[in-house]
């Protein structure tokens, strides 16, 4: 069984980098629950980002600063570092949900969630804001 583990969570650093790059995002899942006071373990940080090209470009810059590499099933973090992944807005736009290992720990990105009416959430009035909660 390969060692798939990477760096431990550093949620403060993750949020600081996302904010500094001006990424519009919402933290969701277990991390968001903890932000609301829940006592529960979580393995990674999940966020939803606005699927708009400039925002994805800013996210790409943030991921590069965090030395992000894809998390790929069956591959170790060391092996994944060797993949020739160029992180930019194009790549992020082509992945509906992307899973990364960063120097601030595991980080999952969901882009452009669709609402029940089929409209992309990023184009609706309930804006995604910078900041976690």
């Amino acid at each position: 069984m390969p060692d798939l583990a990477g760096p431990a969570h550093d949620l403060g650093r993750l949020i600081e980098v996302l904010d500094r790059h001006g990424v519009e995002y919402l933290m969701v899942g277990g991390v968001a629950a903890i932000g609301y006071g829940a006592k529960r373990p979580t393995e990674d940080a999940d966020c939803v980002v606005r699927r708009e090209r400039a925002n994805l470009d800013r996210l790409a810059d943030a991921l590069q600063e965090l030395n992000a590499r894809l998390r790929v099933g069956g591959m170790t973090d060391a092996e994944a570092r060797l993949l020739p992944v160029q992180i930019d807005g194009t790549a992020l736009d082509m992945a509906g949900m992307s899973t990364w290992m960063t120097d601030a720990g595991p980080f999952d990105v969901l882009a452009g969630l669709e609402a029940a009416d089929g409209q992309p959430s990023g184009g609706r009035d309930h804006r995604l804001s910078s900041g976690a909660w």
Partner: protein, 51 residues
């Protein structure tokens, strides 16, 4: 959480999932996707500005 054959707890591997449902769960799948990303970058670079 299911237990593995030796009793250890198994975690569900998180993998990147593309819009068409494909999962990047192997090196081969990643390389195929990267080729598609490169093709899109090339198309974007060749497109007229504002198109």
């Amino acid at each position: 959480m299911p237990a593995g054959p030796t009793g250890e707890t198994q975690t569900v591997p998180h993998v990147t999932i593309l819009w068409d449902g494909r999962r990047l769960d192997s090196r081969e799948a990643v390389m195929e996707w990267l080729a598609e990303v490169d093709a899109k970058r090339a198309a974007e670079a060749a497109a007229p500005i504002g198109a």
